[in-house]
Structures are given as structure tokens and as C-alpha cells.
Amino acid sequence: MAPPILALRGVNKSFGPIDVLHDITLEVRPGEVLCLLGDNGAGKSTLIKIMSGVHQPSSGVIEMDGAQVSLPNPRAAQEAGISTVHQFGGTFPLMSIGRSFFVGVEPTKGWGPFKVYDRKNANAIAVKAVQDMGITRITDGDRLVGGLSGGERQSLAIARAVHFGARVLILDEPTAALGVKQATHVLRIVNEAKRRGLAVIFITHQVMHAMAVGDHFAVLIRGAVAADFKKGEKTREEITDLMAGGASMASLEAEIEGYMASHDGHPPPPA
């Protein structure tokens, strides 16, 4: 088995007195999709921010290719090959496809102080990169990103990351705001990225989507890895139950039911 590209070893993070992450140990290998599952507030976002260089771990180690690295800022993470695509695509609605594809790394032509942005070239590369990922409906690089569907925007952002040499792709809830068909597009692109040998970290709370592409699953509850298992080791129901807090959720339900039974069907007052 290939060695992990990116690994977290015993990572903790606290903001002042609040401990957000506890002893997170995760690894992801090339050509593998690691699904990070967890309910809202489980610490998924903080974990992503640590891996993408936005936050620094309070303690613990980040390793890439087996060597310890530090990711002091998003740029460093990107240079190390870690690309993060956010829920809303991280693209710019009122910019053209070509321009938003190359934000920060604009291709130029000309010389000296007269270097100009090479629109034609940028559009051509952007359109080709997106089409290579399987979205053939994008043909004009001058179209504004805001005119694309949610799935196409996600795909554009993923294609962008792949084009710029990402080795680890972090997808932050890419399917959360999408319809069924759009989500399928994105999942297909995740598979394409995986086929190309990228390591994908797929953050979601939709178990169905996770099971469709995931090779390896980690469930995060209150900042700790509550379960870490391979594809096929757990059923959908088990995973859903885990995400919702597992046993504690079941006992809460029992408690509420008991209360309602003895109080003419009224739920308990909020704590």
C-alpha cells in the first residue's frame, strides 16, 4: 500500500479555553477518498482549516510523505499541494470562467512592464481543464461563473485545483447545497480526481454521498475521531447513528419519549 501523502498525528486545537479538536490522527493515501463525516459543530471546519494552513494546531504533527511539515498559511499549504474547495466553490460569481480559474496565477503575454493578461489562452486552458474532468457543457471561457449551476461551479473549482497540481484535494461539503443531479456531477468528478491519483478528503454530513465515493471513513464527534473504518465495514444506518452521536442520541430519544409519555405528549422544556 502506498504511504500516506498527508497524515495528522495527535493533532489538538483549542481556541483559548475551548478545546475544539482532540488527538486527531488521520491519514490519506494517493488515489484514496477519505470521507470525513460529522454533524454540525463536530470540528470538521476547524480540521479543514488546520489542513489548509488557515489555523495552526495547538499540538500534534502534520506529515506529508512521511516528513513533518508546517503549514503557516494557506499559500504554504497550496505550495505543498493541498488544495481546498469550499462549499460555494470558492469562485467569483461576477468573473469570467477564464479569469476566476487563474486568479492569483494569471497567464500573461508580452514583455517587461507591458505584460498583459492573456485572456484567450486562459479561457482555452480553463475550458479544457473543466471538460477533461467530464463537464462538457462548459464551452465558453468568457461566461460569468455566477451563470453556472452549483455543480458546475464546484466542478470548476475542483478542476482548477487539479490543474494547479494539487496532490491532496480537500472538499468542504461540496454537495451540501446541490440537488441530486448536480451532486452526482460532483461525485463523478471526485472519482475522476481519485482515478488520477489524488488524495481526496471529502467532508460531508450526507452519508449517501460519502458511501458513493469513499474508501475510508472517519466520523468526528465533538472534536474527536469517534470511528475510523474502511469501505464496507459499516452499514449506512450505523454511520448515521454514529454521526448523530450514537448511544447518547439513542438515550436522548428514550428520555424525550419517556417525558412525553408522562406529560400528555408535551415535549420537555428546552434546557
Binding site: 489548509s52 494557506p74 499559500r75 497550496q78 481546498t84 469550499h86 470558492g90 469562485t91 467569483f92 460569481p93 461576477l94 468573473m95 479569469r99 476566476s100 487563474f102 486568479v103 492569483g104 496565477v105 494569471e106 500573461t108 505584460k115 498583459v116 493578461y117 464551452t139 465558453d140 468568457d142 461566461r143 460569468l144 455566477g146 451563470g147
Partner: protein, 334 residues
Amino acid sequence: MSSISLGGLLRRPEAGAALGLLAVLIFFAIFGGLTFLKPAGMASWLNVAANLGVIAIPLGLLMIAGELDISVGAMVPFGAMTVAVISGHYGLPIWLGIFVALSFGVVVGLVNGFLVIKTAVPSLIVTLGSLFAVQGIVLGLTVLITKSTSVALATEGPAKAIFGDFVMGGQLQVMVLWWLALTALYIFFVHFSPFGNWIFAMGGDKVSARNAGIPTDRLTMILFVLSSTSAAFVGMCQAILYNSAQVAGGQSFIFNSIIAVVVGGVLLTGGFGSVVGIFFGTITFAVVTQGIYYTDFDRNWSSLIIGVLLLGAVLMNNTFRKMALSYAPKKGAK
């Protein structure tokens, strides 16, 4: 290519501004005759447009980047008064006055930018604060130093010719040349060099822009420095042109430049606009304020026209932006 089609033109940010300018020109041509398009008439609105335009473009870039700077209203008298006090009241060399006036522009811009970045307070509030603070400094220091609210300044030689003189038959301010040159420079930097892309990206989505490796903090600083220095530059040139500086005045630049920028097709929330659009918006504004003198209307009506124009422009720009967003190449092209 279809990029020169009518639809293609209408989807550009400056489409509304160009149509608005055309409408205003036709309106005044009908009601005021063609006098205002003759050299003397043109000079009157070109002078207004130039002084406004030098400030409106950097302000517009700030707005494209998602920020706002209303302290320009205080920077104009600040720039004027600085050069007048140093070179008029104290009689020091004019170049020193110019240098210090522009330096103050840089300093106020840095303070604005720093506060916006570090505090995350909306830039409207930050620059509202600096607007009043700088107004206070100008009034307080001027009265303290000169015991007057108006300071005379006599300039001769190259400084006068470069910054505050009339050219082409003595009607056109040299500022018009500055304005045209600066506009060309801005067009290059914003629409052709790679840096322009960063400004749009920042206004579109600041977090994504930062994640894409764009130095958003530094860019914010530069844009604030640019707008307040441009305002100080206009004030400085006016003091040299009119041979005096007043502590008041300049506040009209705040709203006028915002109007020029918005009429020019810049989206108030950032991420969309163009330098050419701001250029058209500035001319439109200047034609309305000056064109009224060539008609039989009472000039008090010009504010009404500007108000209607502003609302009309915003609605039109919204429509064009929607067209741009919903645009997709025709099916069947494959």
C-alpha cells in the same frame, strides 16, 4: 468572434454608463443646443469631470474590491491646505509643499487601510471617522498656524504649468490631461495587467481570493493609499490653480464620486465594474451639472436630473448584469 456583437457589448459593465451618457448628451443637445459640445462648453464639463474623475477611479476600484472611502472629502482640502500653508504661508519651496501634501495622502490612506484590515469595521465607518478627523485637523491646524481659514499661494514656473494651469487656449485645466493619462494607466492595470484580476477577485469573494494566494491585505492598503493620495493630489492642484486654499469644500466630492462610480456600472457590493464605465459615469455626471447652464432650466433642477439618473443607472446596470450572468452560448453550437 461574437465578442463584438450587440449582446456582447451590453453584457459589459460599462454598457449602462455608455447608454446613460448618450441619453444625457441627447437630452442637453435638444434642450441646450450644441453649444456645450463646442470647445468652450466642453472645457466647462471636462474640467469638472477631470477633477472628479481623478478621485472617482481609485474610489471605484476600492468599491470593486468591496470597500469604500469617503474620507476623500476631507483629503481634498487637506491636500490644498498643506501645500498652501507650506509654500504659501511659510514660503518654502513649492516642491516641498507638493511632496508633503501627497505624503499626507499616503499616510491617511495607510491609516484607513490599516484600520479596515485590523479591525474589520466596515470601511464606510472607518473612513467616516477619518473624514471628520482630517477635517478637524485641517481646520484646527490652519487656524492655529495662519489665524485664517483661507491661505493664499502664489506658484510660478514648472510646478504651476504641471499641476495648476490652463492649457489649450486657457480654458482647459491641466488636470484634464492628468485625468486622461491616469485613466489610460488605470485601464491598463485593471483590465490588462494581471493585478486587475486580483481586485475583482477580492471584491467577489475575499476569503477565496486570500485562499487563492492573493495578498488581499496589501492590496487593500494600496487601494486606500491610492484613493486618499489621489484626493490630496486634486486638492493640491486646485490650490496651485486658484492660488489659494480654503479649509472647507471638498465634501461634494464624496457623493459626486460615488455617483460617478455607480452610474459607471460598479456594483456597490463589489466584484463588478470597469474603469471605462467609471470614466463614462464621471463625464455623465459632469455633463449634467454643467449642461444645465446651457439650457433654459433653472440650475436647481440639475440635482433632480442627477437623482433620476442615478436610480435609472442602477436599475439599468442591474439588468445588464443579470443579462451577463444568465448568458450562455447558444445550444446547437456543438
